[in-house]
Point group: C2
Amino acid sequence: MGVSSRTAAAVHALTFLAHRHDEGLQSSATIAESLESNPVVVRRVLGLLREAGIVTATEGAGGGWRLARPADSITLLDVFTSVEDDTPVLPTHAHPPSRSCVIGRHMESYLAEEFAAAQRALADRLATRTIADTLREVRRREAAS
Amino acid sequence: MGVSSRTAAAVHALTFLAHRHDEGLQSSATIAESLESNPVVVRRVLGLLREAGIVTATEGAGGGWRLARPADSITLLDVFTSVEDDTPVLPTHAHPPSRSCVIGRHMESYLAEEFAAAQRALADRLATRTIADTLREVRRREAAS
DNA sequence: GGTATCTGTAATCTCCGTAGTCACAGTCAG
DNA sequence: CTGACTGTGACTACGGAGATTACAGATACC
């Protein structure tokens, strides 16, 4: 239907990894603590980021997760496209309209195109922010409080 | 969670009303036929558009719906904001993160701002298209087929 | 005035995606 | 060998959306 909160969890986890980058591998349990969530849920989200080449996982004792690329090369759009399925943000008809009506014959494809264009505008904005920006802003807010 | 398909149904219904504008009032049953949906569902969506001053309803026998404003003054953004609730298109955390972590303390508000900015970009694009545009494009596609 | 045709709306149902949880196999350090 | 991780499948709980039923209120028309 719409967008899940996986993007938010993924950005959070990646920023956490960037924050602790010098302290070595971070386990899904540690990350889950910051998210107040479940290690399994975290591993599933991070698994999607691993498939996208954004993080790497190390199995076994002492294992965990780390960024696979510099934080300033990971945009919020990268994260979004990695963890969300490719169903449009703005859904068209719940089920196809009548083919025996002029409007019904063309509305679905027209809307799909317009909604896709709107989503591209959203994506362009997400692409202007990186995990490095996010970490910087989080630290700035902490210092200002 | 995300966006419903009400926007698609509403744009469809409004374009239908613009298309049949010279033929007088259209009943929810007629519109539901084009949408292959239910008259009650249609009335609920049109009810939101009525509250927004986009359509007017006439009760009683021979009653029905018509546009309250010229089709070229109704943008897709008008429709979107009328029928969708005001929960963000891009949701933040499913439930608040840990306050005992630097990331957790600031991520939620930061993401809310960034996601809102992205949604404004999407909204700006929707505001560039009207119901009149939509009807014109539907008719063009019909003529071209 | 009676009746048929509409809107308006509450109540209920089903369906489906998401987050959360449990269980357990695989991997690896010490 | 043991303990600490990841990787996944299976299951449950919950909530929102769309569909449906039911019925009250309004109005045109005979």
